[in-house]
Amino acid sequence: MSNREKLKQLLGEVFLLSEDEISLDLRKDQIETWDSLGVVSLAVGVQETFGYHFAPEEAVGLNSVRDIISILSKGGIPFDD
């Protein structure tokens, strides 16, 4: 499974989205469950899936799925597949 597919699956799990709701272009303000609990859940899920531990300021500063990809890419997790 590619990292994009892994991220999509993770977004569905942590933000409780159905498959047709998930897109890598989503922003925080478009996801009702991307609230303070969602931030915690996302951080846990990213660590499980990609082994990357968000710093607290990174986790609360995320505003879109693109932001997640950007941070993970800088952390050495490729998304160009």
Binding site: V14, L37, V40, A43, V44, E48
Partner: protein, 304 residues
């Protein structure tokens, strides 16, 4: 928040009789009447507002009810809580759980925490064995979920020390020591958070009769612990980092596991799994609670 006073039973008995009332769950009213020199009322009565001192004696649900009453009706009343059963830690907590539209809602407010708590040692022996064991399960759930919580921060080390130095060293028995351990575990979880065990218990409890919070925590503690362990390296890494043995945690969880309860509860868990996944406490579990996670609990049942 100021520190809560921890009083001995003798301290309590020396309060002035004038201005002190005891509000107790019905089971302990006769015992309280015999042991204390104060006027005692039962759970169906309400004390007069404006009381100087109130001593509440009962289980977690009763103490939560008293805490909510005091905040709304008599905020100037000094409150001392005495648990008649360990587990909930309500006597030490700034949280009160109430039912709202069939759902359990946790109200967190420093004004809810009693100014003092006291242990009545003689009550320990009066607790029915099954209730005592479920209360032990609730206590361990608080400590382990607090230790593993992604929100624990500095509280993780506190929870680890409590597990290593206190909880895992105390074999389960009907010792009054469990009143203090329960209160301390509750204070630790209030600082750190809980997780899927409590997400399951809060979701299932309103749907079931005969299965209270502590019994549900006891039934799901070991399955949830093992769910978290098999999700990845996180539990093992945290345990290693803090010198806590995973096997010791698993044994403590297993001490309260009841296969018959688990089998009886599994159909309800399956029916309500989507709600469990959405529960706020499940969403702050130490591992991701997946929508297909119910498969693990089905397989667990086969081995139970």
């Amino acid at each position: 928040m100021t520190e809560q006073q921890v009083l001995s039973w003798n301290d309590l008995a020396r309060f002035p009789t004038d201005g002190t009332r005891v509000w107790a769950t019905d089971r302990v009213v006769p015992l309280a009447n015999a042991a204390l020199p104060f006027a005692v009322i039962g759970e169906s009565d309400l004390p007069a507002a404006g009381q100087t001192r109130l001593v509440a004696i009962g289980g977690g649900a009763f103490i939560d009810r008293v805490k909510l009453w005091r905040r709304e009706a008599s905020p100037g009343t000094w409150l001392c809580a005495v648990a008649s059963l360990w587990g909930s830690g309500a006597e030490a907590s700034p949280i009160a759980v109430r039912l709202e539209n069939g759902r359990k809602v946790a109200d967190m407010d420093p004004a809810l925490r009693p100014e003092a708590r006291a242990v009545w040692p003689e009550l320990a022996a009066a607790i029915p064995e099954r209730l005592a064991r479920w209360g032990y399960g609730d206590t361990i759930s608080h400590a382990i979920e607090a230790f593993l919580s992604p929100l624990a921060g500095d509280g993780r080390a506190v929870a680890a020390d409590f597990l290593k130095a206190r909880l895992l060293r105390q074999a389960f028995d009907q010792s009054p020591a469990w009143f203090d351990l329960s209160a301390e575990a509750c204070a630790i979880q209030a600082r750190s958070g809980v997780g899927l065990v409590h997400g399951i218990a809060h979701t299932l409890e309103p749907e079931l009769s005969g299965f209270g919070h502590a019994r549900l925590c006891s039934a799901f503690l070991q399955p949830v612990f093992r769910y978290n362990v098999q999700r990845g390296e996180k539990v093992g890494a945290l345990a290693d980092a803090h010198g806590v043995e995973v096997d010791a945690l698993d044994r403590a969880c297993g001490a309260v596991f009841d296969a018959d309860d688990y089998r009886a509860l599994l159909p309800t868990l399956e029916r309500l799994w989507d709600s469990v996944v959405r529960d706020p406490l499940s969403r702050i579990n130490c591992t991701t609670v997946r929508r297909d996670g119910i498969d693990f609990f089905r397989r667990y049942e086969l081995n139970a």
